[in-house]
Symmetry: C2
């Protein structure tokens, strides 16, 4: 008899297992296979893509090195060692987790975890039955075809298949200018591919929780790097050729590419594990209905991560796993909170957002004040030769921080300072009272805060 059986050992599942263990629970994990341990993020998502993105970023940085007295004569690129390095990191993380689980005695059962009743999980095909007090469904999500674009790993790739590439394509078409699309566009471009990027909406990163400024900065930079971005455009026709694919876009442009990469479309993995028989409620898109504590309509069955909403972020799952476990332990301090979820995009810029944008805050009826500071004048950013970007703070008239949007060097790490302040309900005037090392990128956050508090100096152009 376990205290907790977690179905799915992705980010939420394994973070949840560790957390439950730390909290003294007897916990077990069920995962499809040793190869899928770590889930989508580790095996086919953020971890391998961040590895490649680091290489892309360094390739871009090489262009700055002459200013540091470093003159590189020539270099060669090869995807084989890039792939090896990337796969080694993925494998290492997976093996580290396996060893850790073994060491602290968290059993991992391989197979499909299917619910028999609210207190037992069957591992298929072995039929092993696990009795448990609580169940956490952390089965994640899967890619799905986009209309006629059915990924075949040859002419049409999805984000499950792109990892098998062993050489850089000459030219690709990326469908979708969201986080995945702009990340791969940057990676392939920096490694020498020609990239055509189509996005249905009128801007890149067309998500209401990402400010327009971020989209605009990113589009400008990607274009400068030579990416052919086509907004309000769709792929109308595609035809397999002897070599590659012929594509026709809705704007009349025709092209020949090595393959099409799908940057859009995932669905929650909520089928085939007997949820229906137990009467666990789903919404129309297959997401599980959960309350603020990640509890489904069956009180001892919880869910976290990609199965709870379309905000499919590894750390949402990790956080929700802790919310669920705290609740199993009778605590109600932590709650689901999509508004406080940081969204970090690693493309030609690092782009980080949390909370409301200016537009969203206005729509919600707040009297909005915005503080902006630019990395252009930030001494540390200037020293590092990377001083494009901004910090934007969205604040209400009571000094409450509603959102923060950072684009620039280390945006993803910097944002956490503001996430913590928002989480702790600390008001914006705190930023002028805290201490920032000089020179640091973090100072840009302080200056954005001071602009809200004391008004702008009206000198620097906003952006």
């Amino acid at each position: 008899m376990y205290d907790l059986v977690i179905i799915g050992a992705g980010s939420g599942g394994y973070e949840g297992a560790l957390y439950a263990h730390k909290r003294g629970m007897k916990v077990a994990l069920v995962e499809l296979s040793p190869e899928t341990l770590g889930g989508n993020c580790l095996n086919k998502g953020c971890i391998p893509s961040k590895y490649m993105r680091y290489g892309a970023y360094m390739l871009e940085r090489l262009g700055k090195l002459p200013e540091y007295g470093i003159h590189i004569k020539d270099y060669e690129l090869d995807m084989k060692t890039l792939k090896e390095g990337r796969d080694r990191v993925v494998t290492t993380i997976r093996e580290n987790f396996k060893r850790l689980a073994e060491h602290i005695k968290i059993p991992i059962f391989y197979g499909r975890g299917v619910l028999k009743d609210p207190n037992s999980v069957i591992v298929e095909p072995s039929g092993l039955e696990l009795e448990t007090r609580y169940i956490l469904i952390a089965t994640g999500s899967s890619t799905m075809p986009l209309g006629s674009l059915v990924p075949d790993g040859k002419h049409v790739y999805d984000t499950d298949q792109v990892w098998s590439l062993t050489q850089f394509p000459k030219k690709i078409l990326i469908v979708g200018g969201g986080a995945v699309g702009v990340e791969f566009a940057y990676i392939f471009r920096m490694y020498g591919s020609e990239v055509l990027l189509v996005e249905l909406k009128e801007r890149l990163l067309p998500s209401s929780d990402i400010p327009e400024e971020s989209s605009r900065y990113l589009a400008r930079k990607l274009k400068k790097l030579g990416i052919d971005i086509r907004l309000k455009t769709t792929l109308q026709n595609w035809q397999i050729q002897e070599k590659g694919v012929k594509v026709a876009l809705s704007d009349g442009h025709e092209d020949a590419v090595d393959f099409i990469l799908l940057g859009v479309g995932r669905k929650p993995n909520t089928e085939g594990i007997n949820l229906e028989a137990l009467g666990i409620e789903k919404d129309g898109k297959g997401f599980l209905r959960v309350n603020a504590f990640c509890q489904t309509n069956i009180p001892n069955i919880y869910a976290c991560g990609d199965v709870t909403s379309s905000l499919m972020l590894a750390h949402k799952s990790m956080y929700e796993a802790r919310v669920a476990i705290d609740h199993m332990l009778g605590e109600e301090k932590m709650k689901r909170d999509e508004k406080l979820m940081p969204k970090i995009i690693y493309s030609a810029h690092e782009i980080a957002s949390v909370g409301l944008t200016e537009d969203q805050a206005e729509e919600e009826g707040y009297e909005v004040r915005v503080g902006v500071s630019s990395f252009v004048f930030n001494p540390k950013a200037m020293d590092d030769g990377e001083n494009e970007g901004f910090v934007r703070l969205v604040v209400d008239k009571e000094d409450q921080i509603l959102g923060c949007h950072i684009l620039g060097p280390n945006a993803g790490e910097l944002l956490h300072q503001v996430v913590h302040l928002m989480k702790a309900n600390i008001k914006v005037d705190f930023l002028s009272k805290s201490i920032y090392s000089h020179p640091s990128l973090s100072e840009a956050i302080a200056y954005a805060g001071m602009e809200v508090q004391f008004g702008p100096l009206t000198w620097a152009k906003r952006h």
Copy 2:
């Protein structure tokens, strides 16, 4: 009649002037010359050294690039373009500030600011007299000779003179293994110089507020990079040769170097500005005695930065300037706080410290608990190929965070998360309740916090 005259337009002076302006004060700055505007940090300290350190860091990173499929065949180094780039950043920051001051109408008077009486400052040699309600002394500090080692910018350099170098030395001796010494050791080494580093004490960074672990990690890395580190060692004799300098160390080692670089010794600039005649109190080392609000014994005269204590950090001065100005405006919320002052060292590792070390906390009688997490297992650090280092949190039995010590990628920016929490008196259990993006370096802070809260998983070797 001004509300405030600030003597010295270094980090504290110009930050103070901007802040006073934002708070509605009529403020003027007095600075020696247009060339010294920005003070030591901008012109001869943190800003130019961070520029060169970035180049050094990138040179080190080049060694990692093959793992990202980037094979650099050959490169050349030259100090001329490095120096040009560096000087351009320094000049740009200085000119930005001049234009900003002009735009928002903060006058800068060039000359030596000498106090005539508590309400007037004379600018010498012009003799211009500025009447003012408050005075802020922000005159900074100067290098000083070390015994017989009198810097001549030829055989013996101090940190004022090192910027004039137009080519990389073949071999240098650095005296002092503190922040300045280890920073230059790394820079010169990465740009190809042989470096001999002597430190009197038994470890690098021999400061009680930096944990031994940081010193040990750094020494290991610097040695690996080929730096000859000699601890508990002094320079006993030196002799100018036809070319370079012959040096004899206390451990018997003799060597020939291009020049000696002094990494130690600064004194506060508190002489020659008539402080004595006004009866402003100093301590035995020339530092001005100030209270918690940076007020000297003359109530309308304040001081900030290097003149207030031996903790000579640009951001200490910037923070203290704000403390002083708030107090002039009748507010007492902000106070001097050396314990909360982040200390960031940029050498072969980025090393960041705030608050107490474990040892200091024990000495102060706390029941100390320590949470450690390693970057070795941090997925983002692994992706970036830079996963050496740790986060150490020092916490008391009431969950209060007493200190934090980070060594590793972006340590200096990451530390601010903890500075804010300490400043806001937030307890360590907050770290397990906040949200961290995945993968991120910031997660290492969460795990260190969770180790304090829930105990270690006992798997990973500490360091």
